[in-house]
Amino acid sequence: MIEMINVSKAYPKGVQALTNINFKIEKGDFVFLVGPSGAGKSTFLKLLLKEEDPTTGTIYVGDKDVTKLSNRKIPYLRRTIGVVFQDFRLLPNKTVFENVAFAMEIIEASSKEIRRQVPMILGMVGLSDRASQYPHQLSGGERQRVSIARAIVNNPAVLIADEPTGNLDPDTAWEIMKVLRQINRRGTTVLMATHAKDIVDIMQQRVIALEKGRVVRDQQRGAYGYED
């Protein structure tokens, strides 16, 4: 499903963000990407989205070699990958419904599809009664659920989350984890970068640990593995 072969990434000013990464994720996996700040987690995710290109190596998403993808095809790669960020990135002047519908509009879904799909997804993340509210009327956890709804509304095969609980208190973080786990159970591959030790330890999922741009551990049913 997702595979990196001998991938390295150096940023222009000589920062070596990733060194010789090799791993493979199967369809339907739930994978944590852990490591201290600056370890290269975000860079790792950006490579999958082709926001950045690796300096060397090969990356497969689905059956496509991402490194060989032309610029024109990037949007179609991204339609197969939903993304969630720490800072939610909702449009403040759109309602919850409109924020989610926006993702469908821009891939030119019909309004009929939008009217059917958006309420269903809002129901999945537990926001059916919030559809007509604006982001500023929502709590942090609710905003993150809107952004998750937007990420999955077009049924991507993969969901990437870059520290999705980073701005949330522990209880709210667990709500988000439940939503992600539920999405994963429906067959979506989930790849989540995080700092949150307790979440990783309790979830008992596969853990890929990065340190200074290298994979230092790749463990099925792992724990966070740092005593910091």
């Binding site: 991204r78 926006f102 990420a151």
Partner: protein
Amino acid sequence: MKIRTVNYMLRQGITGLWRNKNMSLASIGSVAAALVILGLVIILVLNINNVADLAQMQFDTIQVYLKEDISQGQIAEIGDSILRINDVSNIEFESKEQALLNMKERWGDKGYLLDTLEENPLPNSYIIYLNSLDRADFVVVELSKIDGIDEIKYYKEIIDNMLRIASFIRTIGLALIMILVLIAMFIISNTIKLALNARKQEINIMKYVGATNWFIRWPFILEGVVLGLLGAVIALAITYYGYSYAYNAIARKFTVVFSAYLMPVSEMMNTTVVMFAVLGSGVGAIGSIVSLRKHLKV
């Protein structure tokens, strides 16, 4: 592309216009200025060419005035000499009496004024028809060698001068228009830059959910095109009213005869409408594409 998408993009484009009203006005104004100058150049050049064309048709002959104190024999001799010049196809003699009659006729109801003349001031003349107007310069040189000719009336020079002026106006005008067009593009591309900034967050999200580059670009290109077209509409209005006014003023002041030499207003507008629309939207589109290339990383 779906109708709904087109609607969406037009809406985005128009919203963009409103968001930066001042820059939008500056953009529209700059396009209008460039096109008004273009209109002026078109009006001048087309009219001068038109007059030159008409003049060429009417004055495709050379007229030579003969000296006062020469005999009938000499007049006939001069006629023979003229006919011997290559490229002269035919000549016609106009006596001074005939010339006066012709003038009386041309003056119409004011012709009686000529009756008060004590002496006929008009000369005897030959009207010379050429095989080809291109040879006029050569023929004039030959004519100047013949004795008994007082003056050679020859309009090619005037026509040539008019054409030279037209081409001068065209050159200067086009240079000026090029500069104004560049300024307009610059202003439009800055307007689009502001529009891009205002929608930065939205664009960022669009990229992550897989909007194609063209889907992201179109609203901004449309915004530029609308700016250019609005400028074109204003320029068209100014050109139309300005030319109609000048046309009527000339017709009133200098008799209708003179305005017959001018391009009719409707014909002038047919030429400019399409040109303004194409140029206006083109300048707008290019201005915004320049901005997108610079500021929109895809």
